[in-house]
């Protein structure tokens, strides 16, 4: 029975693709004469129901498996944002009705659920994902079915898709500001420590190029698998190399083991500080006092003094499924739903092509907790302020550095002369 229904689903999906393609072709033909007709027919091709007084959205987060540690909070903050938007009148007057799916820390499941959300639940857009692997699993599906996916986590860049909006930082909004901060501190030697997967490898490739330009010497580079906590052997190498600073691209629970081994080896923030790109307000408490005094590079911190941040913090603390603190990925997830609201309002429609056309005007903004962000209609990323925070005893971050203005997203680092085209191609191909 299950195999029959699977085959049926495949047939339906294949049928939908053919119809979409045919209508898209028809749309292209019509566009010369009448643009709105083209957009309209494409909306008919997707099965999104816009006739009632609700609109369906899909939330796709890992609620089970290893990544549930991080993605559960993103799912909860999306629910909060949906409730807020509904209380304020909804999207184009329609209440959001969300379908929550579990990606289960399994990348094929992410692809499968995306297809299900788009073809069976007929959602207007999907929000979620955390790991780059999950995003890369979703990408071909949303591109094939012409859906929309909003991705809320900082990542390694070198990607853009007409069907994905990225509300977390790309490398020039997190990695490069961190390097600028190190240069401003007069750092001469740097050690790179990361988990062994695509984000740290790509980030470190970029760091090495920029370090050469800044005159910072890389004195070592170490990777440990994501699922391994023991960093003692690698920390021994760091202690022997005596760097001015450690650039930490470790992700997940492995960070706890790294910080403990660092502390045990007698390394201290006074002599060998760490700058991290994945330790935020949510992660710091699990590391105890041993992480205090080190640095992190993010766009958003709970301690930011902006006009909209107090309300965001207050709403989250009052929310029943709250974890108590706000953090960068949560804020980016919060932005993603409001960015979609701004997009459909500008487009006056839930149609994917109309939404993308509205984005192209480069006028979509949102007064986010990190400040007023602007959507880049070409690469589908948003402008962000760079901030460096220092972890205090309450596991909050004291802001010690800020970029002088909002940083425009540049996922392919095309505006940086030290980033050669052949390496861009090599890294883009490797990230596949």
């Amino acid at each position: 029975m299950s195999s029959t229904s699977k085959r049926l689903r495949k047939l339906v999906a294949a049928g939908a693709t053919v119809t979409t393609a045919a209508l898209a072709l028809a749309g292209c033909g019509a566009r010369a004469g009448d643009d709105t007709a083209g957009a309209g027919s494409s909306a008919a091709a997707s099965c999104v129901d816009t006739s009632g007084d609700t609109i369906k959205l899909g939330f796709l987060n890992s609620l089970t498996g290893g990544m549930a540690i991080s993605e559960k909070t993103v799912s909860n903050v999306l629910h909060m944002a949906a409730d807020e938007i509904n209380a304020g009148g909804g999207l184009l007057g329609k209440k959001i009705e969300y379908v929550q799916e579990d990606g289960a820390t399994d990348w094929p499941t992410f692809a499968e659920k995306t297809e299900k959300l788009l073809t069976q639940d007929c959602v207007a857009a999907i929000f979620g994902g955390w790991t780059s692997s999950s995003r890369k699993a979703v990408k071909p599906v949303v591109e094939k079915l012409n859906g929309l996916f909003f991705y809320p986590v900082q990542y390694e860049g070198l990607e853009s898709s007409p069907n994905i909006y990225y509300t977390g930082a790309t490398t020039n909004q997190q990695i490069i500001p961190a390097m600028d901060f190190l240069a401003s501190k007069g750092v001469k030697t740097l050690f790179l420590a990361g988990s062994d997967y695509v984000f740290p490898r790509t980030a470190n490739a970029i760091i090495k190029l920029y370090a050469a330009k800044l005159g910072i010497k890389i004195v070592g580079e170490e990777y440990v698998p994501l699922d391994k906590d023991d960093w003692t052997s690698q920390v021994a190498k760091i202690a022997a190399a005596k760097p001015d600073f450690i650039f930490n691209t470790i992700n997940g629970s492995s960070n706890v083991g790294f910080i403990k081994a660092y502390y045990d080896a007698g390394l201290t923030p006074a002599k060998t500080p760490i700058i991290s790109v994945s330790i935020a307000e949510e992660e710091a408490p699990a590391m105890g006092h041993e992480v205090t005094g080190n640095y992190a590079s993010w766009n958003y911190f709970q301690s930011l003094k902006t006009a909209t941040n107090p309300k965001f913090i207050q709403s989250w603390k009052a929310y029943p499924k709250s974890s108590g603190v706000t953090s960068d990925p949560m804020e980016a997830a919060y932005i993603s739903l409001y960015l979609y609201k701004a997009l459909v309002e500008a487009a006056g429609s839930f149609d994917v092509n109309a939404v993308n056309a509205a984005a192209k005007k480069n006028t979509i903004t949102f007064d986010a907790p990190e400040g007023k962000v602007t959507l880049d209609g070409e690469n589908h990323h948003i402008s962000k302020p760079g901030h460096i925070g220092r972890i205090n005893a309450d596991n909050q971050f004291d802001i010690v550095w800020a970029s002088d203005k909002f940083i425009e997203p540049d996922p392919y680092l095309e505006g940086y002369d030290w980033f050669p085209a052949d390496i861009r191609k090599q890294l883009t191909d490797a990230a596949g």
């Binding site: 699922d227 403990k260 007698g266």
Partner: protein
């Protein structure tokens, strides 16, 4: 070769943690033939017990010594519950216990995720484990010395228990020949339960040690379960001394490979070694001579 001695110590500490995780398995898998994939989650239960003890006793200097027996009992009781409700219906069906306990492990992981902060909780190291002890000119982190000492104490206690108490003798009798043990009036049911309690309790103790080294969260058990099984298999099933030697060898191999190559490659190389060894010597380092037909 300046790194030789520190890495030897580091490897011994890694081996000691592996041994703590494998000790319980050497009882439940080695002696009873139960493949308990939820053993890693019992380790997690031990770590969370340490966190809960720290919520009651704020001073971490005192809380860790208290947490060790508490974790032993709490994880042991979970093990007992698993034995009474599920495992006892499945003796002599190792593949079924494997599948069922994978499921139990997933349920325990998800329960921890629902109960505790999803990113995990901090277990604070007592101040007497801070810093390093300088012996023979080398700085030895106190935490590593503690792990080694804890493993040594657990091994000594376990082997003394197996060797000198009447319970220990009955366990050994049951392992060597279950049917004959029963005919001499030993309640193998009671023995099975007790063995499972102690084996799971040891995972709890390992959990406290692990909470001082890495993160305490719902996923922590996963990284110990496979290496622990490999160590038990390489040591020779049902052999305590084999488990000890194998754990130490794997720990030292991991430390040196990680120092000479990379953290990722070290795992691969260390486990290739174990697999090659098992190909050459499938029965493991040491074997038990039994008169049983199985």
């Amino acid at each position: 070769m300046d790194a030789l001695i520190p890495q030897l110590l580091n490897g011994s500490a890694q081996g000691a943690l592996l041994l703590l995780a494998a000790l319980g398995l050497s009882l439940t898998f080695g002696q009873m033939g139960v493949i308990n994939m939820a053993h890693g989650e019992f380790l997690m239960i031990g770590a969370f017990s340490a966190y809960l003890v720290q919520q009651v006793i704020a001073a971490s200097d005192l809380s860790i010594p208290v947490a060790l027996p508490v974790a032993f009992v709490v994880a042991g009781l979970f093990g007992l519950l698993l034995e009474v409700t599920i495992i006892r219906w499945m003796y002599r069906r190792p593949l079924d216990t494997l599948l069922v306990t994978v499921g139990v492990g997933l349920i325990l992981q998800q329960a921890a995720l629902q109960i505790f902060p999803s990113q995990g909780v901090p277990v604070e190291k007592p101040s007497w484990l801070d810093g390093q002890l300088t012996i023979l000119g080398y700085a030895w982190p106190m935490r590593q010395l503690f792990t080694i000492l804890l493993a040594a104490v657990c091994v000594a206690a376990l082997s003394a228990w197996l060797k000198y108490t009447s319970f220990g003798r009955r366990i050994r009798a049951t392992v060597h020949n279950r049917d004959l043990a029963e005919t001499t009036g030993i309640s193998t049911r009671t023995i099975d339960r007790l063995t499972f309690f102690v084996g799971s309790g040891l995972a709890g103790v390992a959990g406290v040690a692990a909470s001082l080294i890495g993160g305490t969260n719902s996923q922590m058990g996963a990284q110990y379960i496979i290496p622990a099984f490999l160590v038990v298999a390489a040591g020779g099933i049902g052999q305590l001394k084999g488990t000890i030697l194998a754990a130490w060898a794997v720990g030292v191999a991991l430390a040196f490979f990680a120092y000479w190559t990379t953290g990722s490659l070290a795992q691969v190389l260390a486990f290739i070694l174990v697999i090659v060894f098992l190909q050459l010597r499938p029965q493991g380092l040491f074997t038990v001579r039994t008169r049983s037909l199985a």
